[in-house]
């Protein structure tokens, strides 16, 4: 195939419209696979026809109509398919498809993408399926790319996607944005999936790479999409702000050799100022929106205090401690308690922080969390108790799975080993 101007035009349209076209085709056809094939055929038809007819005024409407027509043809042609789901579902899909207006407005398309997100994150699907389906169907990543991100074979990921789509079809998982009060429960699940994609990218749990920038970028894209589709939702704004403010620090988090650089040692001039500006504006909007405080917005406010400090000495630790206390009331968790203890160490000193961490351990919480032992080691070192610190770092090392973090811990242990005997 020659790469003529029309290919470039279609390519450009694909990049802009593929997600929306798919979302609408799924609504019209009621079937993921049928919709994907229909979209494929519609874009192929565009390459063939736009050369002579010119690019239509509304390429998106053209593609949806072409895709719907191809699918209806296929439904009519495919006797096996027809006998399998001859019931009202297919009949109504045909009727809906036939009734698709020439130019649906943008709000309808927006709704379709929102519907698709809620379907992909439906609680009747497994957590693995949520992430895989969202990346594949909403973000448009290839199965291969999704498989790579989660360190499974392409075959395994393909099977996971097939199973999830079969469950959606067989169990009758609706292709709908839920109404309140269900909406408020479900949006929480959707945001958890998006944040899960981000954290998997930001702190991959195993392997040699520390950050998977592609996953972070996809999560932020999803956050922006949700912010566009659900404006002035404090949880959405808070999550997007949180991701942007974390991601802004990404260029400074890893050295050229792939080593971890702790926040206090980061070169702050490497932080992405555009993301910071966007994130800070979102935090302010999230916190000033009436309604219950979102834990994401509070976490974003903490991240905002870190990035607002030009030098590490300028960090407003007392306010960070206060925000962690708010967060602990909203969403108690051992990990947040640990972060709170680290913030306390910066305000009241390591002794107070060590007490907090030891009380956390005494309650039998997170004793297998490597960062808890790493924090203990740090507090003990600050208190001039190097031997105990080394023990804590060793416990952390035994639990850490990520290679760059293991290197950092080994370096800390060697630092203590290098001390003169008897210290």
């Amino acid at each position: 195939m020659s790469v003529g101007p029309i290919d470039r035009v279609v390519d450009e349209v694909f990049r802009r419209e593929a997600g929306r076209v798919l979302a609408t085709l799924i609504r019209l056809l009621g079937d993921f696979d049928l919709a994907e094939e229909a979209r494929q055929e519609a874009f192929t038809a565009a390459i063939e026809q736009w050369e002579s007819t010119g690019v239509p005024a509304n390429p998106r409407a053209w593609l949806i109509k072409a895709g719907r027509n191809k699918a209806v043809d296929r439904i009519r042609r495919d006797v096996v398919f027809r006998t399998k789901i001859i019931d009202c579902e297919t009949a109504s899909a045909e009727a809906d498809a036939a009734a698709v207006p020439e130019d649906e407005d943008d709000s309808t398309f927006g709704d379709d993408r929102l519907r698709l997100i809620f379907t992909c994150c439906h609680p009747a699907l497994s957590a693995e399926a949520h992430v895989a389906l969202t990346l594949r169907e909403v973000c448009g990543l290839t199965t291969q790319a999704v498989a790579r991100a989660f360190l499974v074979s392409e075959e395994t990921m393909a099977q996971r996607l097939v199973r999830a789509k079969k469950k959606i079809r067989d169990a009758g998982i609706p292709y709908e944005t839920p109404e309140p009060p269900l909406f408020n429960q479900r949006i929480h699940g959707v945001l958890a999936v998006v944040y899960g994609v981000f954290t998997e990218g930001y702190a991959v749990t195993t392997g040699t790479r520390l950050v998977d920038a592609e996953l972070c970028a996809e999560a932020i894209r999803l956050g922006r999409l949700l912010d566009e589709l659900l404006p002035v939702n404090p949880a959405v704004m808070g999550l997007l702000a949180l991701m942007l403010l974390h991601d802004a620090r990404r260029p400074a988090r890893v050295s050229q050799d792939g080593d971890v650089i702790l926040l206090e040692d980061q070169d702050r001039t490497l932080w992405d100022q555009a993301k910071i500006a966007e994130g800070l504006a979102l935090v302010d909007r999230a916190l000033s929106t009436p309604g219950p405080l979102s834990p994401y917005a509070v976490q974003a406010a903490i991240a905002a205090l870190h990035v607002r400090a030009r030098k590490k000495e300028d960090t407003d630790w007392p306010q960070i401690v206060g925000l962690y206390e708010v967060l602990l009331r909203l969403q108690p968790s051992p990990v947040i308690e640990l972060n709170h203890a680290v913030a306390v160490s910066m305000v009241d000193g390591a002794a107070r922080a060590l007490d907090l961490v030891d009380s956390l351990t005494a309650r039998g919480q997170v004793s297998d969390y490597h960062l808890l032992h790493a924090a203990r080691g740090r507090f003990l070192q600050q208190l001039g108790r190097p031997r105990e610190a080394r023990e804590a770092y060793r416990s952390a090392l035994a639990l850490a799975t990520l290679e760059p973090e293991r290197r950092l811990l080994k370096a800390l242990i060697e630092g203590i080993d290098g001390l003169p005997a008897g210290v």
């Binding site: 019931d87 439906h122 009747a124 067989d170 169990a171 009758g172 998982i173 609706p174 709908e176 269900l182």
Partner: protein, 117 residues
């Protein structure tokens, strides 16, 4: 679509309930059933005798084996079902959540797979 809502609960705990607890639960079930009949969701429902009354049949190599008890020992046992009409899984799970037994046991929601003619 039609769904079967399978009601699982711990038979021993159910059997140990006081008479007044049984009476109030029966009243709740009656009210729930009336509600879904009125709303047009109801297709069928039954309660089941406990698994102490269960018999399991297997045919292996042409031999019929009849044994006492349920097919598997589980912590919660199937005690009854509703067959309902619902527009999708969300509606079916919303109905399932209103079954009185959902507060004590678990409701498994299974789509009916119609047999093609």
């Amino acid at each position: 679509m039609q769904y079967l809502l399978l009601i699982y609960s711990n038979e021993a705990e159910m059997a140990a309930r006081t008479a007044s607890a049984v009476a109030s639960m029966t009243a709740e079930y009656t009210e729930f059933t009336k509600g879904i009949i009125q709303a047009g969701h109801f297709k069928a429902a039954d309660r089941l005798r406990p698994t102490s009354a269960a018999t399991t049949v297997r045919v292996r190599n042409g031999q019929v084996a009849v044994t006492d008890g349920p097919f598997a020992e589980t912590r919660e046992q199937l005690g009854g079902y509703y067959q309902v009409e619902a527009k999708n899984l969300d509606e079916a799970t919303a109905i399932a959540a209103r079954i009185p037994g959902a507060k004590y046991g678990s409701i498994e929601v299974r789509p009916i797979w119609p047999v093609e003619a």
